[in-house]
Assembly symmetry: C3
């Protein structure tokens, strides 16, 4: 089954691009393709309507592990939306590297349980092509008070 | 216009390498080239004379966003100096990935506004070849009390 | 001398894989190989018996620089174990990028002195093929209270 079909079966909708404030040109590219490699900018959780998804704050204090798992899953959908716009066909993506960042309260050390929300969905959608190396680490702060931000590198085939 | 010419027009000077303390051999390479890819070590802000540029400390407490924007711009010049020594001709560089780290005071979440100091200059100098994927994130601490450290990956062409 | 022989001369033993809890399938891959590139997941310090090596906590408060240097060296051995299982022959590895993360107490800024424990061993074992670009930075938190976690990218030759 194609990735897009699997998304439909799961009832999942990819969000549109994050909107920059009117008149602002963002000085970076969501997905930068050079040769057969695609470098994916740090993404955060987005709702299907394109807005940034809450909750906000640090995991382990303001946000629970279960909430942050959902944030990481919504981050995967945001990134898949960017990849679809950049590559066209999500089945041309082979996953390589995932760098999962979790805004962490002092003493919170379950970052892997949070980033699993991203990895579990990618593996479910992609199978073997979704296998990826990963780090899941604790940040002092993330932009806009996001609890999760994830960067990736993928390879384009076909 | 070549990148070196554009730097001259802007009155910008690339600094020499960061000096290691006498007798110390640094156990890493500023720019590691493997095939057509160049991995660029984390760089910090440097002045034209090669010294590390202040201010020091965390953005949002010790350092303002405006000061840190300049630090990020000076980090771009430091990295361009390293790339020029490693590659020879800066026009052979195509930008791919920028990982922007900001030492962040508690509650500071405007990391993108800081790292724009790097991205704005690269886009100004390189145009389309300067497009890059990016993350801009908040660190607990950076070496030597730097407010900004930036790592990158570029592709070598020609 | 081959890398495996040099390890033996130094009396160093590569640990087995980190054991996941019974019945748990980790949703990521220690070493993801795509073409001639290998993306290496974040690794932490392991003892030769495969267990996670202490001490735990933040460098600069709970853990000294000297202890954390050893943690970084034990992280290199853990990663070499993963690379040996994934690639077969460690001499086929050419080092490219090392991203060294240090759980850092407030005000601790000697991350490079910690990550040298990793870099010094890789350079000792690999010589020129061990040269790598590097960042060494301070994290708020790392999984399981680890003082050090290191991610890498290498190229596979031969």
């Amino acid at each position: 089954m194609k990735v897009e079909e699997r998304l439909a079966v799961l009832g999942l909708v990819l969000p549109p691009p994050v909107q920059a404030p009117l008149g602002v040109r963002l000085p970076f590219t969501p997905v930068r393709i050079v040769g057969d490699r695609a470098f994916v900018s740090g993404h955060g959780p987005q709702l299907p309507d394109g807005s940034i998804a809450g909750p906000f704050g640090r995991v382990g204090a303001d946000v629970t592990v279960e909430e942050a798992y959902v944030s990481a899953r919504l981050t995967a959908l945001s990134m898949l939306g960017s990849l679809q716009r950049a590559v066209g066909d999500l089945d041309r993506v082979v996953w390589a590297r995932v760098f999962g960042m979790v805004a962490s309260a002092s003493g919170f050390d379950r970052q892997p349980s949070v980033i699993n929300g991203f990895s579990d969905l990618i593996l479910d959608l992609y199978g073997d092509a979704g296998a990826h190396a990963r780090s899941a680490v604790g940040m002092a702060e993330l932009p806009f008070g996001l609890p999760v931000e994830i960067e990736a590198e993928v390879v384009i085939v076909g």
